[in-house]
Symmetry: C2
Subunit: 430 residues, 2 copies
């Protein structure tokens, strides 16, 4: 792992404070968000630390962070309540006096005035600023961020900064984008160019992806390109990073190699999702889609309708959990159900074709399977699923075995279903 | 903040490894999940550290963790690819040889056999186990967990354990519940009793919940009970913790007070979900449910069908995104759609009643609204939603305004819909 931070020297540490984090009551979304912002701008957070709202623990973590890193960012603990300790603790740790900042105080006062609410006396503490700190204005709350420039670490030729940010995401996000990132880019200019491309795949395990592309990409990696894999449920990301002056061309060439090797499994790049890709393809073709879901229980339709503008291409669906609904609404012949069972190729085929007619759509996805944990047989174990796709060109059915817990089963089945449709739309079907 | 760990002495540190974490590619759900599991069993994680897949960094973090904590848990880095380094690095750090474990190897082989897939040679490395380590079997993947007992820290009278867990949640969760928690409870027995009860509410803000119960619960808090609030999207948890010898009775009495004050907003306790509660109620009544979803696009049905055994009570649904489908499948009169619009009380009513008849269910939920980001009007702004419930006793429709991003809109609307049904089932409706 090489780092893009100011050559090889710059280190970044993120400290998230909050007892709710350590009790597992809330998800630490700041870690992902700040790390992602940094990475997309060519900086890497080296270490992230989560601790509770406890004075000595916070001071100890910041002291350690400053001994290791050039840039230390904390989140949380700047509010007005008794467990908001960060401001005082840091001033004490750095031996700096706190003084009331007039501009911050006016901002707090006008925050309450504009909401026609009295200013609680306790909020005044948020106007206290350590000597020499840069105030990061808070456009969405009362606690400003604070950026404190310190002497460089022993032997370092770059400045050291300690940046304190408020906890609420709606306050932190704009402050980070508009004030912290510019400060970071000014104080720690990148020494090399930075190009980052993420290839998104589905349907292959991480080790298979690596087996396919690692050797062919060796010349790029030997030339300094970083090649990373990230496996999530039902998908694997391939991340290509170059800091070479011709990084754009190098990464584009490496991407082309990957496309040839990963083929139908590569569904998008960077922030694209499978459902977003499908919506874009269908929109550009002026075509529509619908679903007939049994065991996935609406999950596929839910993913499609998460994309803004889904109503342009998604007309609707039938959730045919019960066989009687498969028969009556989707016109699956009773004989088919009796002869082959609900979880079968002929049933999936009839469901897709029935949904295509019933909903009046160009493409209909059908799913029938055994989500488990019970209901399996030796021939059709738990996880067996038949996925149908009725298209203008005809109907196809694939069989998969996804022996996972219910939610994972649904997600992986939806990946397979959506990728089947995507391949049909880009002419890779059949 | 008090701690329940083995008196005041025991320290727990969690180390999450993964370059994808530090690049912000994935959310660190392990922090919340493991911290929550620990907290609910009377243990507090003192520090959580996130680092990338980098040899010296991982070794350094584990070394530091072992210098501070009695129990150190790592996640990630046990897979088969070249950036899965944890197993080797830890063996090296501890000076223990790796040997191939026959049972683990057989488990890996049978994992691939049961999926009719060839075993990639690279996966064999996952059968390597450091000398003296306890193998934590992986029922859902190929990489086992490893628990290594070490000498107590200097001066400590309790053992030190280092536990390595695989990264994928579907592998980690059952391993943690079934193997790690029992080991922790055996090796670090709690010195005081521990009773923890979480009351789950929906439909009230955090400050309103606090206003209702804080004063009435003061006698319990003065007597040592911990009272905590945690607000998440669409719900607020109330957490009652007692370490008193009669904690069970004390917490039960406090819960009873809360039930009286929170009434219809309290939908469950501990790990109960709204959808799980509904499934249990419907099952016990021998009744069935179906949905007619427009703007929620299958999300409500998806939640219901996430619960194992959903097929006992859920028969199916119609996703009526397009008005023509509302009219043709659900028999919403065209006049109603033209006179009142798709997002209206009469349409929601007709959808619920149409779905109840069409699906042959006892209860039908209907939803029609404007998820946004576009489509709002002055009278019906973005976020407007009508929720219908057709029941044997009659039909009701409520109007809500949920002006959030699409996914939050869907979640909050599903909370309101499911709680409407839950209240009907427990006789709180009307």
């Amino acid at each position: 792992m090489t780092h893009g931070n100011h050559g090889c020297c710059m280190k970044i540490e993120l400290i998230n404070t909050g007892s709710e984090l350590m009790l597992g009551r809330v998800l630490n979304s700041h870690q992902q968000w700040i790390c992602r912002q940094m990475a997309d701008h060519g900086y890497t957070v080296d270490r992230q630390v989560g601790i509770s709202d406890d004075g000595p623990v916070i001071q100890g973590a910041v002291r350690e962070g400053l001994s290791r890193a050039d840039l230390v960012i904390t989140t949380g603990g700047l509010g007005p309540t008794s467990d908001d300790l960060t401001r005082d603790l840091i001033a004490q740790l750095l031996g700096r006096k706190l003084r009331e900042d007039e501009a911050v105080l006016r901002n707090i006062e006008s925050f309450f005035q504009s909401r026609s609410r009295p200013m609680p006396p306790s909020t005044r503490v948020q106007a206290m600023v350590p000597e020499g700190a840069v105030v990061l204005a808070n456009a969405h709350g009362t606690a400003p961020g604070l950026a404190i420039r310190l002497d460089p670490r022993p032997g370092a030729r770059i400045p050291q900064w300690l940046i304190l940010l408020p906890g609420p995401p709606r306050e932190l996000h704009p402050m980070f984008r508009q004030q912290v990132l510019p400060l970071v880019e000014q104080e720690y200019p990148r020494e090399t160019p930075f190009v980052c491309r993420t290839l998104k795949t589905t349907g292959l395990g991480e080790s298979v992806v690596e087996e396919r592309i690692a050797a062919p990409l060796k010349p790029w990696v030997d030339g300094g390109m970083e090649l990373g894999y990230c496996a999530r449920t039902g998908e694997v990301d391939v991340r290509l990073v170059s800091r070479h002056p011709e990084g754009v061309a190098l990464v584009a060439a490496a991407e082309k190699v990957c496309r040839g090797l990963l083929e139908k499994h590569l569904y998008g790049v960077d922030d694209e999702t499978l459902e977003g890709t499908i919506l874009r393809l269908l929109s550009s073709m002026g075509r529509t889609v619908g679903v007939a879901e049994s065991c996935t229980g609406g999950f596929i339709a839910n993913r499609i309708t998460n994309v803004p503008g889904a109503s342009r291409v998604f007309r609707g669906g039938v959730l045919a959990y019960d066989n009687e609904i498969k028969e009556r609404l989707l016109n699956v012949p009773g004989d088919t159900l009796r002869a082959h069972g609900a979880v079968s190729e002929p049933t999936a085929r009839a469901m897709a074709e029935g949904a295509r007619r019933l909903l009046g759509v160009d493409y209909a996805i059908s799913v029938t399977g055994i989500a488990g944990p019970t209901g399996g047989t030796p021939e059709k174990p738990v996880g067996t699923v038949f996925i149908g796709l009725a298209a203008p060109e005809g109907t196809r059915v694939v069989r998969q075995i996804n022996p996972f817990d219910r939610e994972t089963f649904k997600f992986i089945t939806s990946q397979q279903s959506l990728n089947l449709l995507r391949r049909e739309l880009v002419g890779e079907g059949g």
